[in-house]
């Protein structure tokens, strides 16, 4: 049984799934969304971004969709949206991180505002 490429889920792929969880986006939009949701700590470069997008497409966790009315008449961009499988993977990853967070809290790793 070949090992899945996204097991464990890389941080960049998880960030992209989270960015696409609400609406479809093009590459630059995803990059800005990730930057925003990480408060500027993560800025995905083109190589990492499109490499992750390619892997997510192959694993059918996201899919390419039409640009729709909003991009007609401007540069042609490829839009992506999360699939139901992608949502499940994102949820599983979030739960795994939540479990880790509970353990960290139980071990009193956090201090101050994080507690």
């Amino acid at each position: 049984m070949p090992r899945r490429k996204l097991d464990p889920l890389p941080s960049a792929a998880f960030q992209i799934l989270l960015a696409l969880s609400e609406e479809k986006m093009h590459g630059y939009g995803i990059m800005r969304q990730v930057e925003s949701q990480t408060e500027g700590r993560v800025r995905l470069g083109p190589g990492t971004l499109y490499s992750s997008i390619q892997t997510l497409l192959e694993e059918k966790l996201i899919e390419e969709v039409d640009a729709g009315e909003q991009e007609k008449g401007t540069e042609r961009r490829r839009y992506y949206r999360i699939t139901s499988a992608g949502r499940k993977v994102a949820r599983a990853e979030a739960e795994r991180l939540a479990d880790l967070l509970r353990v960290a809290r139980a071990r009193r790793v956090f201090r101050g505002e994080y507690v």
């Binding site: 490429k5 590459g27 630059y28 990059m31 800025r43 995905l44 470069g45 083109p46 190589g47 990492t48 971004l49 499109y50 490499s51 997008i53 390619q54 892997t55 192959e58 540069e75 961009r77 490829r78």
Partner: protein, 287 residues
């Protein structure tokens, strides 16, 4: 400028990745250039790009590209990777390897390995004998000159040697030098002094009568000298050799002493100079 430079750097990614996402990556760069003006923005942009390039380009080369985006040759290798080779594959691979090995051994055995000259196989036969027909002396050496010329040996050195030999023609001065050296050697090494005197007289008589004047072939000249010596004294053991390969290129047998570049005199084993002179000193001297 930045876009051109980054387009060049995109060449560091695998071709399938460039084909699929190269334009999107350039579009993202254009978006960032538009949204992040100023020196600080450009500096941060390029730091991000270079760091991203350093991390993602090697990863893209390592990753197994999807079949659909790979060229046909790459898909072939992917099939080999995913499926075990069939028995026929091993059979044909083994047959091909054996054929290659056989070809290699054949080439090692035959290609570029020249057959030795007959004259190289035995130092004693390096000098071509020019015995009179029917003579029992050195009969096995007869014809070595022609064989040496027609040998299939193709090494460059021997081609050059043969070329030099082919250019050698006997002139009157050369005939005179050789004849003088032969007479001196006969006088020196022929045990039978009366026979030596008879041989020398016969050779000089032929020279005076112009019998050798038309001979330009070294082999023919040596043949004529040997015939004359044997006619004058059948028991003589002194023998004239001619070779079209100059003695500067080959080493004559120990009992054969060069008297010229192409002529040598054979001194049979056991024959000693009555005057104790070195045979090498009897060589002809060119003007």
């Amino acid at each position: 400028m930045s876009e051109k430079l980054y387009a060049f750097l995109l060449r560091l990614y695998p071709a399938p990745f460039r084909k699929a996402y190269g334009e999107d990556a350039l579009q993202l760069l254009r978006d960032r250039l538009r949204d992040e003006p100023g020196f600080a923005g450009r500096l941060r942009l390029w730091i991000d790009l270079l760091a991203d390039l350093a991390v993602s380009a090697p990863r893209e080369h390592r990753r197994v590209a999807p079949t659909a985006s790979l060229p046909a040759e790459a898909r072939l290798f992917q099939v080999l990777e995913m499926e075990p080779p069939r028995p026929s594959t091993f059979f044909f691979g083994g047959a091909l390897a054996l054929a290659g090995l056989a070809a290699f051994i054949f080439l090692l055995s035959y290609a570029g390995v020249r057959k030795p000259f007959r004259s190289e196989a035995s130092p004693a036969s390096q000098v071509a004998s020019t015995q009179p027909a029917g003579s029992s002396r050195s009969a096995t050496q007869l014809g070595a000159e022609g064989q040496a010329q027609s040998s299939s040996n193709t090494s460059e050195d021997q081609r050059q040697t043969n070329r030099r030999a082919a250019e050698f023609l006997l002139d009157a001065a050369e005939r005179q030098r050789v004849l003088a050296a032969v007479i001196a050697n006969v006088r020196e090494y022929e045990d039978d002094r009366a026979a030596a005197k008879h041989i020398v007289a016969s050779l000089r008589s032929n020279q005076r009568s112009g019998r050798y004047d038309a001979i330009t072939s070294g082999r023919a000249f040596a043949n004529a000298l040997n015939t004359q010596m044997e006619a004058a004294s059948p028991a003589t053991r002194v023998l004239i050799f001619y070779t079209n390969i100059p003695f500067t290129s080959i080493s004559p047998a120990s009992t054969t002493h060069p008297i010229d570049d192409h002529f040598a005199i054979s001194i049979p084993v056991g024959t000693h100079s009555p005057r104790g002179r070195n045979p090498a000193a009897m060589r002809t001297r060119r003007a």
